[in-house]
Symmetry: D2
Subunit: 255 residues, 4 copies
């Protein structure tokens, strides 16, 4: 029977600043990627995030980024391989301690922002990310853009991985995401998102913006927490997936 994981970047508030509709999203997903205090998040937010994840049986993932709070980790920042590896280990460990405090554990890691995008294309960078994850635990699953160098890096070093596709982003015919600078980059119509989800899960493909078919293998589907339609979209996606008998489960969970 088909199954799929649905993930979302969460825990991106900081101090007095609130970001995202975390409370509403946790009940609708199976994996949370939780910011670790470098580009977003703080110890209170991390603890609250882990607590919500545990309560909703959502797999706890680290979502580490560059030490760039003002830039939300979206700016290129050239850390050496050693600096990057250590920055990632530090952040994963910090989140891991909160998971343990709730008798739970880290299940996966997804790099954030600039790092996610850059490592998708740069194998050396991706290998550094993968090595950092492996240093923390060989059982952690590395989330990376389907077909990207992050997935390749995980394969090369023998780390578990999950190929990620997007519920709420459109694709180009070459399988890349439409640039956010395009006003067609985001999918906000729940119907369209549900169709993309079904195509991805059942057929391993979706329609590119130009109408062509593009093959994309997806182990996990991402929805953006800052998508204003995230809740409506997730609700529709979940309903449609279930109608056709697709189970929505964290990676590795028994169905």
């Amino acid at each position: 029977m088909a199954r799929i994981d649905i993930n979302c970047d969460l825990g991106e508030s900081f101090g007095i600043y609130k970001l995202g509709l975390d409370e509403q999203i946790y009940p609708l997903i199976t994996s949370a990627n939780i910011a670790c205090g470098f580009h977003a998040g703080d110890p209170q937010v991390m603890r609250a995030s882990v607590s919500m994840a545990v309560q909703h049986h959502v797999a706890i993932g680290a979502h580490p980024g560059t030490p760039d709070l003002i830039g939300f980790g979206r700016r290129r920042m050239e850390l050496s391989a050693e600096e990057l590896e250590n920055a990632l280990i530090y952040q994963m460990g910090a989140l891991q301690a909160f998971a343990r405090a709730y008798s739970s554990r880290l299940s996966h890691v997804k790099p954030h922002g600039w790092l996610y995008n850059a490592a998708a294309q740069d194998l050396d960078l991706a290998l550094t990310v993968a090595r950092a994850v492996r240093a923390v635990s060989t059982e952690l699953v590395l989330f990376g853009l389907s077909g990207s160098q992050l997935v390749e890096a995980a394969k090369q070093i023998g780390l578990p991985y999950a190929a990620e596709a997007f519920l709420d982003r459109t694709y180009q015919r070459d399988g890349t995401l439409t640039s956010r600078s395009s006003n067609q980059a985001l999918i906000t119509d729940p119907e369209k998102a549900a169709r993309q989800a079904l195509d991805l899960v059942l057929k391993g493909r979706t329609l590119a913006l130009d109408g062509s078919e593009v093959m994309i293998h997806a182990d996990t589907l991402c929805v953006h927490g800052d998508n204003p339609n995230a809740v409506a979209l997730l609700t529709q996606v979940r309903n449609k997936l279930r109608e056709v008998g697709v189970e929505i489960l964290p990676l590795g969970a028994k169905s």
Copy 2:
């Protein structure tokens, strides 16, 4: 046979900034309290510290502080109990990940600076520290000033603890440390430090500044890494302890 642990606060460098004679001190101690990036330390320094600790068979301890890098964690900063607990869990977790990366583990925790001093006198604060440690692991040993509320807090919640005395600080007749504002606060003469170490370990007492005897139970002896004589002092202390048959071992290690 008598035994004692010798600890030191280490890993206090940051970025380009170097602090402490860590390389020279690791071979001479049995427990390292490693800064965790809030008041001092950074991911590179933490990794290097853990690596040195492992190499020298030194027990790895977290030395967490307040988020006050400019003030080196020495300034009063009133975090709520929840904020403090989470700040400590975060830091312990970050260091723990580096320990795991070296196939090792955290063995103890010692709060830093203002937090150490304030929690020594304030049971509520001490209980918050102790609960944070327990949240990370019930096997972690809490280091606290001998006779202080930190030790009391550990007892109350059933956490392992180690009462700490100082090799290189003088005591008042009431068992408190001589204030650093006094020019007699520090012991820099290796002979005097060795005598204090022997008295503490063998007799559970030392001479106060005024010549009176003061009873102090010590499970671990601390030397300050910023003491310019730390290496000479440690060498003499170790020689004298060994001459009288005292084993110098990490807490919990088999003799």
Copy 3:
């Protein structure tokens, strides 16, 4: 003819995080207290804030705080007098440069959060704040709670000052603000706020929560930007003040 200044704490966004309804509030006030990057604000937010202030002929004030972004400057943090003075000079200077970039200048300074409240009661702390302001310019007006040690400190060192009262906070019979822990601390009814504004400006007094009259001298009236009713409240206050012929003008502006 009577006149009054209306001020608001603004520019409290940071990076991707948005806080406050700054765009809607600037047209309704005469003095802006702009965060300077330590407890809130960042260089982009500061520039945008100065730009809006200039556009709306609003006096530009610095709103410096403690270096405590996670705690939004609301936590006690004991800097030495020298550390505090320098932290304040730094922040004022940073904002001043943006004012100059728009051919404008700083007109006033209001300490933020814990510092505002603590300096209101502690003359030594207030004097440190006042000295920092004077070090930047002897023409800067120090905003402080009416009747507080901040006002006293400005008087003692000969610095211009403005006694501040609140449009949207209730008072106790001793002239202190009702604690925020009370659910009667905030005034959200525009009518009540307008009545308080008129009483303060025309009669130098207002009604305390218990119905007694309390004398309060106000040179400037503060509204909280995080008050969800701030815009409605300000609109009503302005209308009522103008109906009775009170001019709403920045301090020092010619009527």
Copy 4:
């Protein structure tokens, strides 16, 4: 009569961390480039630096960098033009306030680390730097590597500038600095440094590493504060320059 300015990057300590021999260098230079708290420096260090500069009649310059304290501003960090301009205005303003507190003023600006090197080669980046300087004051002198895009940018927007050459770095035949990765990059012999200084000032040229002559126009000569020989080197350079009648004066000072 020939004259030259000698500058050094100073004020790079932070909190408890000490860096550089500032006290020994101030008496030997005429322009100080003072870190502004982003990549190094803090409010206490900035104040102490300004105080020393004033005492030794040394021109006060801002030495702003990227917000990268762990990386000491040496790592590529891609801020948008707007973000960079604002980060620089903020830092210059902060230092300016300390200068005013000592009845002095900023005289020049020299970008730090990665920004200095990148802007030397990238005209767009250099123009952003130059515009930020101009926004603070049209009288500030922009220090840039001789022949670099920083100098070109200042020319293009009509900002005063000073072409910088190095006392303690060797040159390649094309006029670029020998890479720091070479063990011949630094000049530590005071005699060689003095010869380079004289050649630069009197002849507008120096000998490249391969023995060829390379033309370099220098308005100001830089010495590195972290050069262990900085004091000996500066002493010899000053003696030799004075022997041949070259005045050592800040830019713009009357001889």
